[in-house]
Every structure is written in C-alpha cells, then in structure tokens.
Symmetry: D2
Subunit: 362 residues, 4 copies
Amino acid sequence: MSDNSFGKLFSFTSFGESHGPGIGCVGDGAPPRMALCEDMIQPYLDRRRPGQNRFVTQRQEEDRVEILSGVFEGQTTGTPIGLLIRNKDQRSKDYGDIARQFRPGHADYTYQKKYGIRDYRGGGRSSARETAVRVAAGAIADLFLKQALGTSYRVRGGVVQIGPHRINRDNLDWDNCDSNPFFCPDAEAAAAWEGYLDDVRKQGSSAGAILEILADGIPAGLGQPIYGKLDTELSAAMMSINAVKGVEIGSGFAAAAMDGREAGDEMRKGPAFLSNHAGGILGGISTGEQIVVRIAIKPTSSILTKRRSIDEDGNEVELLTKGRHDPCVGIRGVPVAEAMMAITLADQLMRHHAQCGILPTD
Amino acid sequence: MSDNSFGKLFSFTSFGESHGPGIGCVGDGAPPRMALCEDMIQPYLDRRRPGQNRFVTQRQEEDRVEILSGVFEGQTTGTPIGLLIRNKDQRSKDYGDIARQFRPGHADYTYQKKYGIRDYRGGGRSSARETAVRVAAGAIADLFLKQALGTSYRVRGGVVQIGPHRINRDNLDWDNCDSNPFFCPDAEAAAAWEGYLDDVRKQGSSAGAILEILADGIPAGLGQPIYGKLDTELSAAMMSINAVKGVEIGSGFAAAAMDGREAGDEMRKGPAFLSNHAGGILGGISTGEQIVVRIAIKPTSSILTKRRSIDEDGNEVELLTKGRHDPCVGIRGVPVAEAMMAITLADQLMRHHAQCGILPTD
Amino acid sequence: MSDNSFGKLFSFTSFGESHGPGIGCVGDGAPPRMALCEDMIQPYLDRRRPGQNRFVTQRQEEDRVEILSGVFEGQTTGTPIGLLIRNKDQRSKDYGDIARQFRPGHADYTYQKKYGIRDYRGGGRSSARETAVRVAAGAIADLFLKQALGTSYRVRGGVVQIGPHRINRDNLDWDNCDSNPFFCPDAEAAAAWEGYLDDVRKQGSSAGAILEILADGIPAGLGQPIYGKLDTELSAAMMSINAVKGVEIGSGFAAAAMDGREAGDEMRKGPAFLSNHAGGILGGISTGEQIVVRIAIKPTSSILTKRRSIDEDGNEVELLTKGRHDPCVGIRGVPVAEAMMAITLADQLMRHHAQCGILPTD
Amino acid sequence: MSDNSFGKLFSFTSFGESHGPGIGCVGDGAPPRMALCEDMIQPYLDRRRPGQNRFVTQRQEEDRVEILSGVFEGQTTGTPIGLLIRNKDQRSKDYGDIARQFRPGHADYTYQKKYGIRDYRGGGRSSARETAVRVAAGAIADLFLKQALGTSYRVRGGVVQIGPHRINRDNLDWDNCDSNPFFCPDAEAAAAWEGYLDDVRKQGSSAGAILEILADGIPAGLGQPIYGKLDTELSAAMMSINAVKGVEIGSGFAAAAMDGREAGDEMRKGPAFLSNHAGGILGGISTGEQIVVRIAIKPTSSILTKRRSIDEDGNEVELLTKGRHDPCVGIRGVPVAEAMMAITLADQLMRHHAQCGILPTD
C-alpha cells in the first residue's frame, strides 16, 4: 500500500529520481499470456521522450526500458513486471546553483519542509522525469485494453490550449495530433503556437496548457461507486501528474452554468445518448459514450527569469533557473495523461469484472 | 479495501441507500481519548440537513446520528466508530413512475448496466442522501484537526457561482456564508440568487454551481508524493461527491493561460509567499498557505420538465421526475465538500506524521 | 484501508464492542443479484450463538441480524451490505471489579497500554462477541461460493482436540459435528469431553482446543503469489480470531519432521494427488485438493481462579473473573473459523477471476 | 495495492524470477534522513547467500544489491527506495528436463493451473531466490528499528529442529547461531545435525525444519486490532515465506493442551510478566515481553529421488530433480524470517505512532 503505487488490481509502484541511477516501476496485475516485450513498450516512451524538438527540454535521454521480470518467452506470466530505465544524461552541475535555493512554483520548498532533505538534482523525485515510468506502465495497460475490448477501444489526447490560445473546435481532427510538435488536434492552431512558444522562450518564460484526453470503446458499467468511481480515480490519476492544477469531466466547469433542462444527456434507442455533457460518466460509472477528460497544466516553474525567493536558511535571494527545461511542460504531458487514462481504465475493467463478471447472468 | 472506503489511516467505510433502513459508516483511525458524542457531530449534520429552506429538497429528515461503537464515557477509544442514521421520510411512492425508466443525467442507467439491478427508490445508493455519512465522518476529522493543529486551523467553504451568476470578489466575506440559504460569501449575490433560483424552480428546471473550499492553518509538509499527493487525494475526495464534474486547485484552469513569470508564487522571509496561485500545494505537498479548492457541480438531473429517455427494455419514453429534489444540489454540497476536505487533511496529517514524525530530528 | 477490514475484493469492515449498543459490519464486493435476506444469514449466527448448552457462555443473546443496505427485493444490488446486531444482554455490573485490573492472559493490559483508555465492559473490542460479525459476513461469502462453485463446494470444521484430549482419527465422521455440543467429528471423543469439561469448569479453570477447518470443491489456481498467497491470507484470517496462537496448513508442524521423499505429494492422471500433506496449497495456490487448516486456541483467560496481576496504577492485585464465560472458547470458534475460511476463499476467487479470467483463453 | 507488496506504511513491493535478469523491490515508507548505503544492506544479504557451505544450495550468487533511488548523499530522502539484485549464475539448462513436468510438492503445477504459463527455469517466481529481496528490505526495517527503539531492540532467530531432531533447550545460547552452518542456538545439536543432513543428502532426500524468531526491546502497544493485529500480520509475514506450513506464537499449539490456570501469564509490578506463554502478544498487541514466533518449514521438494507425477499434457511420468538445491531450505530461511519479523514490526510501529502518537497525552 505504498503511496508510490497507483491502481488497485492493475497497479504499478514507481521509484526513481531525475538524476539518480534510474527510474522504474513494478507493474502488477496484468493477465498472463499477453504478448509483451521491450519493443512493444518503447513506442509509447518515444512519444514522451525529451529532446525531440525545440519546444521540449533538450535533455537527451534514450529512455530505453528494460523488462526485469514477469515476461517469459515473449509472454506475460501473471507475475509482477519490473521495469527499469537508466538515467543517462544527468548534467548535474546545471543544478548546482539551486542546491540550497527554492525555485518559485516548484516543489523544492515543500520537499525540504516535509522531509528535511531533498535530492535537489533536477528536482529529484518531483521531476517530470518520473512520468516516463507511467508511460511504460500505461503501455501495458493499453495493450491489455486492446486485447480485452477490441478495435473500438482507443485512448488518445492532445493539447487544446497553450497559454491563452485555444484551438478552434471547427478544425478538430484528432489525427492531426501526430503531425505537429504540440500533439494539437487543430493544424492551424499548431502553426500559430510555434511563434507564440518561440516568443515565450525568448522572454525566458514558459506557458501553461489545457489537455483533452479521450477514451473510445469503453463499455457501460466501469466504475466502482462510491469511493472508487471512474471519475474519482481519473481525477486522482490526472491530478497526480506534475503541474496539473485542474481536472474536469465532460462539460466540467461549464456544466455549472448550464440549465438543468440541457445538462442531462437525453437518450434514445440504441441505447444512444443525444449529447455527452456527462463526458461518458454518470454516477461514477461509464455510460458507453466517449470518456472526455480535460486537465489544466500550469506553466513550467523553472524559467530563465530572475525571481524572488528564499534559501534553506531563510535568506531572501533572487534566482533564475538554468538547465534544460520544457517551455511548456503540458506538451509532453499528453502521452503521460494518456497513460494514466489507460491504467485507470484497465484497473476499473478488472475491478468491474471481478464483482460483476463472476456469476453467470441469465 | 472496500471501494466504499475513503482514507488510508483516517478512514471511513460507507453504506446505505436513500430509501433503505438507514445509512451509516465505520470511521477508523481517530486517535484515542478525543472527546466525542452525538451532540458534537449533530451540528455538522444540521448544516447539510434537507428541508430547511425553499432552495433545498423538502424531504424532512431529522438526520439524528447514533454512535454505535468506538466511544466510551465520552471519549474515543481508538477502535472503529460505527455511525448510523436511520432513514425516516422515505416517500417511496413518489418514485414509482421511474422504477423502470432512466432519468437523463442520472445514474439510473449506469447502475442498471453495471449491476443488472438497482434500488430505484430515490436513486438508491447514488442518491446524495449518502453524503450525510460523509458529513458525520467529516465532523470527527474536523474535531481531530482542531485538537491537533490548534485554533489557526479552519476548513470552510461556500458557493461562488450559481448557474451563470458569480459572486463579486470585492464583496467577499466568508462570514456571510452562514447568513444566507446559499452558503454564499457575497451577501449581494445571495440576494440576487433568490430570484434566479425561484425562476429556475418555477420553470421546472435546476441550476449548477461552483463551490470554493478553503483550509487555513495547515502546516507545510502534508501530502504523500507521488500517488498520494495532497491535491491528488483532494481531487478524488471532491470528484467522489455526487454531481461534481470538475475540480481545481488554486488558480486551476486559469493557470493554463498565465505567463510563467507570474504563475510561480514568489517567496520572502517568513517564510511567506507573495501570492497563492498554487492554492497552498506544490509538488503535491502543502506549502503552509491557504489550501484553495474549487469544484463544479452540474444542475440536479431530476427535474419537472419532460425529457426524452428509454426504459429498461430499451423503449423510448418521455419522463419528468416528481418527488422532492434540490433545485441546486450544489448548495447542500458545501458541508459535504468541507467534510471531504477535513477527512483528507486528517488522513494526510497522520500519514505525514507516521513517516516524518517518528524519528527525532536534530 | 481500515485496520478493521478484512479482504481485498470481497471484504468486510467491522465495528462494535461487547457491551456497547451493537456490533456490525459493512460487507462489500458481493456480486449483484444474489438472493439474500436476514433469514439466510441467521442460521449461521445461530450456530455461534451463546447460551445454547452448558459448555459455552450463559450470556443470552438472540443475535438477530438486521440488513441495513445493499439488498433490494431479496437480492444483492452490488452496493455495500450494512449489517447490525444489537447487543441485548449486557450485564455490565459483572465486570465492575475488573474495571481497573488486568486479567492475566487477556487483552486488558495491552489495550490500556496502546490507547491509554479501554472499554472494560466485557472486554470491549477485544471480546469474542465481535466474532458474530465475522459469522454474518461469512454467511454471505458461503452463499456466494455455493453459487459460484456449485454443490461440490463446502466449508466445514470441527474441534479435534480439547485440552490434552485428541479425537481418534479412526472415528472421524464430519457429519458427527452437528450432533454434539463440541462440533466434534468423533462421537466417542465428544462423549468423553463432556466429563472433562465439567471438571475443568468445576475447578474454575478453562481448556484450550485445536480446530480443523476444511474446504472441499475449491478449484486449483486460487491464491495470489507472493504476498497474497492463499495460505498467507488464511493464516492471517485465522490468527485474527480471538485466542488463536497457532495456524498450520496440511501436515503443518509435522511436515518439519518428514522425509523429503514423503513430504511432496505425488501425482497421477486425473489430475489426482496421491496424498495431501500440502493441505491443498502449493506455492500459495490451491491444488484442487481439500484445503486443510488447523488452529490452536488457548484456554479462556477469564476464569474463576484467583490469579496475580496489577491494576492501572501498577499496584499488585489478586483477581478472579466472575461473569459468564466459555469454559473452552475454542468450541464456538468453529463457526467463526469456518466463516473466515469462506471469506478468504471468496476474496481469493474474485482476485483470481479478476486477473486470470478476464481474457479469453484458447 | 499489489499482491506482491507487504506492509501498509513501511512497505515493499517485490519483483523478479529465479532465472530472469534480476530480482528487486521498491521499499517505501522509511523515514527521511536515515543513514543508508549498499554496504549497510549487504551484510544482511550475505547471511542468506547461497553457496556458503555444503548444507545449502551450491548456486554461486554474489547477491550484490544496487540502490536505484531514495537515497541521496548517504541518507534516505523519504522517497521510494528501488533495490536491484542482478541474477548471475543462472544455469538454466539444469532445468530443461522439468520444463513440462510438475515436481511433487512444488509450485510448478499450481502456477501452471493458475496462469496457464510459467517460467519453469529454477521455479521462476516461486523460487526461494525471491527471498533475497525480503532480506534487503528487512535490512532497512532493522536499521530503522534500531534507530527508533535503541539498543534494547534486537530481532534474531535460529533453527530449533531439523528433521525429527530438536535442540536441547538446556543448551540454548542464541549467540551460538552465528558459529555453525545451521543458525542453531544449541552447539551440540548443530554438531549432530551435520551427520544427519549429510545422510539425507546422500539418500537424495531433504529435511524440514522448525525456526524460532525472537524480537526483544519491542514496547507494549504495537498491533492494530482487529484485522491488523501484530500476530495476524506476523503469521501472514511468515506464511508467505516459501515452504512454510505452520506458524505459532508463544506457546502456540502447546497452549491448546494447557490448563487455563497456567496459560494466562500472571503479572507483578514493573510491569513484569511472570511467564511468556503469550509470546509477547495479547489481543493482537505487544505486551512489552519478548516476541516469540515459531515456523515449520517442509522439506525441500526438489530432490534427487525418482517420484511419480504428471506432465503438462496429463501424462504420468517419473521425475527426479537435478540442479543445485538446499537439502534443508529451512536453514537459509532464518535471515528471511528475521527480515519479515523486522518489516512487520517497523510497519506496526509506524501504524501505532500514526494513530496513538499524534495527539499530546497528559
């Protein structure tokens, strides 16, 4: 029951710091006899990998995953899957300046207050580097769901807002996400964002983002009321991602302003819903419609602009953060949020199956 | 590890349906030798109680809680605290019409799809009636936190938007919340909302709301990275509340549009933060500043307007929901959200204390 | 994740003290649409009920269970099942003498040391009275397993030793268990035990016992290696029962003295094992053979003989325990141990099904 | 909540197979700022290491542990501690014969039945090789307890019976355990066992054992009634070890035959118990006396004698197991059982502290 675990039946337990020997996890609960090898996980990691274009951190990491256990002759055995990603490009001296100073907006201060010690190199445990582990675990979840739910199943996501600039929903085409450096489903917006983000970086600043993550092909009935609801666990999954400050399902915050005669999605034969304000979840249980989650990610806190802060002794200082940072950490958040969605759904599918699929129905 | 439990060390396990014999919970983990009796829990329940004004359901429930265990001669013993609230005013015939029809926007459909059976009376387990249990458990958490953290500690919340109508932050006075039927911290807004909600009700409709929940006096250091983070668990706590569709911490979704030079809260000696965009949480750990959470609640789905739906056999129907429902379920959500905040904080305080308070520091 | 919960998927969370208003639990995880009502649980409770013959406590309790939730029109709904048994015959004055003294061999001292407070009436939370709750939860588990596994499934147990007197295995007939006051599978031994226990009681003493609990019709494959093994969880289940000091599986302690050429059960076609030293469990997973568990129960510590002890202030005292106590608490342990066996198996069946029954096999 | 995790607050999650790339775990919950490095863990592993004398398996493994995370500049940081031990001497061809045959008494059959697949090399996940991970995690627990409880604290154990040959309690000296290859506290018995075990091995057989594990310096009050009792969790900890078939606390099974006037340990001022039949635990809570646990370990099932079995297709076969096996797997069980004792105590200390040490006492 580690606080570094996620999931009840399909679970993973994560470890590792940004500049330690490596990061990794123990995935548990995957069914036996699923095809699995490093090459099946790697493509997921490659989507999240740093250094791929100028809008993400220039740290160079191969992010090669090694399977340490749980797989035999290309198949899962039902035993825990140890995964390890060695850290390579740990330019620790970049961080020397801030060993004793707290970056505004960063977890430096709170880790120090909580533990009285912190691995300050690259943010240590609080670094977004840990999210590579989630992506690796998410790959297994995604492969499992594909096998369990068939070809109608798909989890995907994209960036729908960077800084104050939203996509135009008329241009929405999720297939665009793989054609631009922002995982943006609106090709026009993506083009405009390039200039915006270049400016942000030149100014030594950073930008926030809003991501939208979708799941199709999810059957009705997933979700464990009332403290293991699907939306409860999805919001926990998303809020656990670095820099996330908000989560909404379906119409989300906009639902507060809706009229009750509009908000409840009507139904017709099929069964089919005539709208999806619910984002595919009612009473914490999936409706069979598309699952829609949006998350807000704050701007990267490590920036090249001088800011006021204090050091470990309480002295007032001014600091700016050198090093290689994402100008918009939200971009690389897309594969991470997709992974957390897949893991949550895999876990919920198993939990539902355990209780509701065990006795024959008439 | 019931899916009807919340909390790891300070936990409660909930049971009960809207129209069954009663609702209740088993609270566990409260320290021994805390003063506790029914009269100390009752005031919390009274704030959430139905039938108190025309803006909430007219169901009449005394909501008298009985302590079944865990208290001896007015003190907690450290053993589990059984709590029971008998249901009284279960006007079941009100619900006869919808026994086989699915209310749009309600959990009727998803419970039926998940379990193949549902207690349709008053929404059964999916009814907001269950939230009385949370308030009772939250009372114990709040009493514990008062004793552990002292007088600077306080959790409170209010409604900051009903339908499209927001409060004016210039009028903000949290002491107003107890002086109007909306738990509204802006007295002017509260006055305006009366007319608005009367209209909504006359139209046979309902309204959504946005709530803001605050915690003061929370020391820095609470939160278990990285899958038991304070914001992770707060968002799970809030999203588990009926009809909640969104959760944000601090600046939340607005943070996405902020410039990185503004978003990270600067610090000075004290230690003191010069702003609180973080909502009191960095890296999933409390900063010592005020904890700020906002949640979006959709309009009540049970309304007196005819809507299109289907029945259990898949036939298309039109239905409207008679019965006594909250025109804005968000209002009574305030004491519930406060309770979930207190429970989450109590649990996190214990988890922090267990690991970081066990060895002497130098 | 209450410490008063047992089970991961099929779970219950218990509350209640010997002389408080009542005892009960929240059962969670039972599949929906199982037939269930109070009358189906009551027979299990009646087997454990006090006051039924002179070899058990003379406390008179009806032990009528009330289902508070989770059942609708005679069927489980998949939501948590609240169960309540009111305490009736709480002759509290019996315990007045020992309010501040610690009975040797009893939990009085340790509860006081742990919590700094204890409900001394009847042993409070440490009383065997709580086991009624386990029997109620076990009834639901047993009914579930009957439906899931069919008629070959059966859990049953008996007393195979009281004090130093063992049964004769040549006389073994498990159907005898319901025909004598000791749940003894050897009718001759049962007859002899009557005189022995009468003597023990006359001397103001008490006797220990060894119980054997069997499960038939359990398919191979149940058990979650390697920290949720079937024998791991069975031993936890058994050791959590009051006064249990030892647990063994199959040949148990005798296996230590066996030759390796004998200990490993050989196999032939069928598949069939030629012996069952393993007690139906290998590597923590069921083999398909009969599950065999034995537990040692110490003599009741509340006896009518004067013994040396101390009081809360550390003063040396001599005390004897009046009140109505089981001369051999092991006897009424049989239905309790059966219940814990059934709950463990139900939980393991679900856990196995969740992981290994979710993908189609070829 | 992986089934490969142990512990609630001080926990570890294990992975790895006998002949895969490596074994390891994620330890979580250790307090920050404890001194820790590989060299502090290694001595614990060295005690369990194979190949050290002729009475244990001749497999040669260095068992060098690598700390992957959670330690910074020689101190724990409070974040999860990743531990990895690479497998070196995997002579896989030894196992080729039994790739499709089930060794009697081994987990081969049950893993195959459960998962439909198994890593047959060296027993895969069911191999005692995994216990190295427990010893590494146990080292951290032991170092923590030393710091938290001081010099009176000590966990140690030994073998008190091999095959039918018990130690003579008159010769008992626990310091002997480090002076013979059996961790035997009776030097005379150890000398006799040499010949016995040589015979057993020559006969191509194996021997069982009984181990006794002791903990001194444990304060009264540890244990979470009633499903997280100290003895409950100790018995789960012990029963999860390979080949263990029985667990007893204090007088254990012998308590069943005791007279009630003897069984309950009397007390005098001190407080001091006049005997310790309870084995240091009453009502699931530590008394302050020595914790005494005994476990029964069956003979190694992989032996050089031909035995009857079946293969994966159900054909009847005769097989004997080549390879390098412990003639008495119980011997190397000592450091493993010590580790599980330390982990359980560390976890219980934290759980107790969380609830009962958080509010000031008067």
